[in-house]
Amino acid sequence: MLKLSLVNQLRSTYKRCLAGQSLQANVADSEYSAQPVYPEIQDPSFKARKQRDAADWHEEIRQVPTVEEKLIKINIPRYYGYKVVDFNDSKIPYNALPLTQHYTRTVLEDLPPLPGSQVVDQGDQPKPSEDASFKTVREDVIEALEFAHDYYKHQEKLPNSAQPSAVEREQILTQIIVEQLNRALLQALSEDHKHLDEVEVDYNPRHEAFWAVGGVDPPKNVINSKKGREWQKDMANESVDRLVQYTGTPYLSLRHRRQLSPWKTTAESENIELSKQIPRFKHDPRTLGYSTKHQHATNVPGYWPKGNEQNFGLLSFQSRAHLQLRPKSYGESDLQEALHSLAIKSSYAWLLAQANYNGFNTYNELTYPMNTQTVITNGREWSFYEYQLNTLLLHGKYQEDNPRVNFCRGTKPLPLYAEISTNGKCVDFNDATLRQLLNFYANVPSIQRSNEEQQPYVASDISAYENPEQRDFIAKTFKYLASNRPRHLELPEVYLWEKLYKIDNNNRAMEAKRRFFTLDVNPWRRTLDQHDKVYVPRAIRGKSRENRYKKTYYP
Amino acid sequence: MQSLTRLMNTTLTLQMPSRMPAAGVALQQLRGKTKVVEKPKPGAGQQFRRIVHFPEEYTVEPLKITHLAGRDPVSGRLVAKGIGGGIKQQYRWVKWLRDGPTEGAQEELVLEVLRDGCRTANVALVAVGDELKYILATENMKAGDILKTSRLIPRIPVRPNEGDAYPLGALPVGTRIHCLEKNPGQMCHLIHAAGTFGTILRKFDDKVVVQLPSKREFAFQRTCMATVGRLSNPDHNKEHVGSAQRMREMGNRPRSGLWKRKEGKHGRKIRRLPPMTTISPPAPPKEEAIKLTLPL
């Protein structure tokens, strides 16, 4: 082919010469310019090539038109799913805060006290109308609290019911309290705060998020593997990316179609000095007690993409029931840190999942900040947090280079009441806590962006695709990935005896080579699209031998 | 009596050296010795197709079954060939006892006619009092029918409706019947298959002669209960299996393909039917044999 084209070129040149044209002029027109334009000089080193490949892949993800396809695209490299650190809302090990801050690039601050409460402290009378409305809300809330407790206590008297564990008991009671309180507050406030009419309430929604974190020491197997090759020995201890998958179910979450306004300006958010000060936890997360598992990357903020107008989180109520399982010997301050860490990771994950539905992901940076509010409660103790998501780039070199940071500010756990007396009355109701909660409800989401601004990387929607087969394929594949169902094939495994007698020592040379490691197949290299295509029965496709298999539409 | 003989027997074994510890233990299996396994012969009313896990009390809940694939459930050995696999059906426990008052009649309401995967005829869910039960459905039975059951034998035969249960003596000659009691106490022993029926031919003394689906005539006692009508699903014998796979779904394995000339299986000489037979009362139960345990 190449040779033939050369011959053709020669022949055309020859013809032109025969025609008496000048060789020089013609060539100059087409191939040469006055100023030489050279291609960019690229670093040919291994590391640079790897980085370029990664950047290309991230660019490809950015170019993918729809949200669903973006998620499929991220999942394509691994058929059996990624090996992820299992971040969830039910397990917070000792000393979890530095790791959480590192993994979410979050600066933790204290929530400034409410202006209203300061006024009360100084003894000034707040506005009478405000006071009256607050009083009604207060009454409603106390009534809801007492009702919830009464109902729960009465329910416990029921004979023959299996005794739930302490964690389950707290979850049941808190679920009742949170639902009652939410209903009372929505009812009481919706007259003054019209935005609450448009709120969508999620009950025990499914919040999941996937992201990559850089700057973590490589695990032992990676070090060993690299040390085994001469040319990689120097890079053996270089940090690697860890993938994180968050899974959580809050008691309740509220969503709205507008965004909350950010409380940190862009200038404040972009501070390379501040980003350097965020604690780093370089050890393997398994050293703290986090476990790993294989699963597909999923980003779910509680609903499916494009289903809703209410795309932005307003408030979520997280559970702290599992903190009961932590030993008392961890101490008070660690419990406080655990609450901070729970707030940070749940808020970050929920915002990331929302951002994902707007076309951003851990490899494609946010173009505008996103905010949410989080409440961690067990019914009595309430901790309030606000979170501002500025950046999603945490992987690879961005761990060092990225000037942006995320912010979280929160309070200590505040008691809403001291106790519920035996006759069902609420004792020592804490107005300050209620005011804080009211403040969260009253926080008006005001930012509305144009579609292009809100979703700069989303070009289309799968429901807009013409081809029904393609729509069906994308929808099914997306649901399959996001359903966390086990893969049809089991994860490949090397048994210990095989490691000893077949891999480390070749003691069974005469054995038939059937297992993947004897066939030189790396099953972990298998990509999502490497599978047998679906056969179309003749009854459907007709007599033709064409289209015997269904087409796939992987992005 | 036998217990005494047993006593003799066991005392004998007791005197033997302690190599043989207790009586009644199955044959000790010794190395190199042929293991003797008793297995039943095919036929004799046992199908070796499934066992049904009956609960202690009667229930209308569909019951779980275990497929036997032609094996004897005791020894586990293959008894019947050509059985195996098939769709797991649920068994509906038919209450065979149709017991009515000796005076007047008990009325029962048909609630639903259902398909039972373990038998060819349909079954009907019947309600009486606060009890639910299944009976075999007749050809034209439908939900809402009222069935009568009585043990009264009037002087003039009754005019029965389909699904009613009466003693043979109470039914007029020519009636089609099914679920026939062979001897008093053996309820609904005969005529269960889809679309079959027996016909009352004549009466003599205290016997009633019935022609069974095999066309043979038998004389039954007049107090034997029978249900009136032809059994449901009459087209069952005209239905084609359709495909080999359907045969597998029904739990039958491929046939051996061997043609047997001498068994007469594939065509038999047509002979005259044997003459009418009087049903004899059921044989007394066989006395249990004692197994002597001398380890020869």
Binding site: I176, P205, S463 | P62, L114, E249, L294
Partner: protein, 408 residues
């Protein structure tokens, strides 16, 4: 060629063994020895009992082992000699609505009470409400992100097929979300003035037991959502006449399972001295995979309606017992009205029960009232196919009735 002579000997021991297999089984003849011995006063025992007598095993209490399950026989602490017909959530009355009517002594009136009918006819709903309800339906049926293993699906015409196991939103969650979202919309319309007088709870248990014509009936039900009000619903004005249906030859208790182990206590999920403790409306979920006839058939429309009635009745009866003491019999001082809604996420059945009397005997002249209409379908199909949501034949009447029930 064989040079030696063939020795035609056989191993005689083998033949003995084969022979013994047959002859080793003997049916002993009756000799009359037992009768003689008994006559002489000698006790005759079966050798089996002597030699292989039962050895009583000693039960050792080991600390830390799991708790022994209490055997379900007469040694059970809750065992009674009288049988109880225990109705629970998953039971179905095989006789359908007529049986439920006889069981609860209710006459059927095929409209709603006048005040509800008036509200349904006259209420003014904003135009945007249909859009919100459509969204609520989609959000609970299709757009929620829960993915759990759904029950197995079998094709009756292809019983050998094993279909791929589908994942999706569980039936319980669909209904929880749908009812919650519909209530949310209703409360938004009603405003604080009404909703402050209502309280909602999930999964409330109600228990009661009643004697009817000598049969003990035990009820233990669960209502997935209950609205309590601070004031009881007013009794329906007017007197209604009607006859109870005839169930002959069935008894009223047919298909209610009979148990010897039961408790007869009364349970109502709230205390009486709470402000919002009057039962207002109960929402129950019908899951066809759990609720089945005893013989395995699906539930008919009449049986489904019977379930709505029974649930309302149990709530009203439990409330009556709580208010007037466990010994209350006969006519109640003030009738108790309970609204009952049953749904499977698509079909809705609305009914109103007025409990006038707790005396359920067949010859009681005063009757309870059961107002209901036929079932309504909220939509005919709601699905997510090929990347697009589908909601066909949405029926706006359902929400109008729902709203009227809430505001009653």
């Amino acid at each position: 060629m064989r040079l030696t002579k063939t020795l035609c000997a056989q191993h005689i021991g083998w033949h003995f063994k084969k022979h013994w297999l047959v002859q080793g089984k003997r049916v002993p003849k009756e000799t009359g020895a037992v009768a003689e011995l008994l006559k002489l006063g000698v006790q005759v025992k079966n050798p089996e009992d002597l030699l292989n007598g039962k050895v009583e095993r000693k039960i050792v209490d080991i600390v830390g082992t799991r708790v022994n399950t209490i055997p379900e026989d007469s040694s059970h602490p809750d065992w009674h000699s009288t049988v109880c017909h225990s109705y629970s959530d998953n039971n179905v009355l095989i006789g359908g609505l007529p049986q439920a009517q006889v069981l609860t002594n209710c006459i059927e009136i095929q409209t709603f009470p006048k005040q509800i009918e008036d509200v349904i006819a006259s209420q003014q709903l904003p135009n945007s409400i249909d859009k919100s309800i459509r969204h609520a339906i989609l959000a609970s049926h299709v757009l929620d992100a829960e993915q759990v293993k759904l029950p197995k699906v079998r094709l009756p015409e292809r019983p050998a097929f094993n279909l791929p196991r589908s994942y999706g939103i569980s039936h319980e969650r669909v209904n929880r979300l749908l009812v919650n979202k519909l209530l949310h919309e209703t409360e938004k319309l009603a405003g604080r003035s009404v909703s402050i007088r209502r309280k909602l709870i999930d999964n409330a248990t109600f228990k009661t037991s009643i004697n009817k014509d000598g049969d003990l009936l035990g009820f233990s039900i669960n209502a997935e959502k209950v609205i309590f009000a601070n004031r009881a619903i007013e009794a329906v004005k007017g007197k209604f006449e009607g006859d109870l249906p005839d169930l002959y030859p069935m008894k009223t208790t047919i298909s209610i399972p009979k148990h010897h182990i039961y408790q007869t206590d009364n349970f109502y999920p709230l205390r009486t001295d709470i402000s919002c403790s009057h039962p207002h409306t109960i929402f129950t979920v019908f899951n066809k995979n759990l609720v089945k006839n005893a013989h395995g058939s699906g539930v008919t429309t009449s049986q489904l309606q019977a379930r709505t009635l029974i649930k309302a009745f149990v709530v009203a009866a439990a409330r009556a017992r709580q208010l007037h003491g466990d010994s209350v019999e006969g006519a109640l001082p003030k009738p108790i009205v309970v609204q009952s809604v049953q749904t499977d996420g698509r079909t809705f059945h609305f009914g109103v029960l007025q409990l006038n009397t707790l005396d359920l005997s067949a010859n009681n002249p005063s009757k309870n009232y059961w107002f209901h209409r036929q079932n309504y379908d909220l939509f005919s199909e709601c699905s997510y196919e090929a990347g697009r949501t589908h909601l066909t034949n949405y029926n706006g009447d359902v929400f109008r009735i729902f709203n009227a029930f809430y505001n009653n």
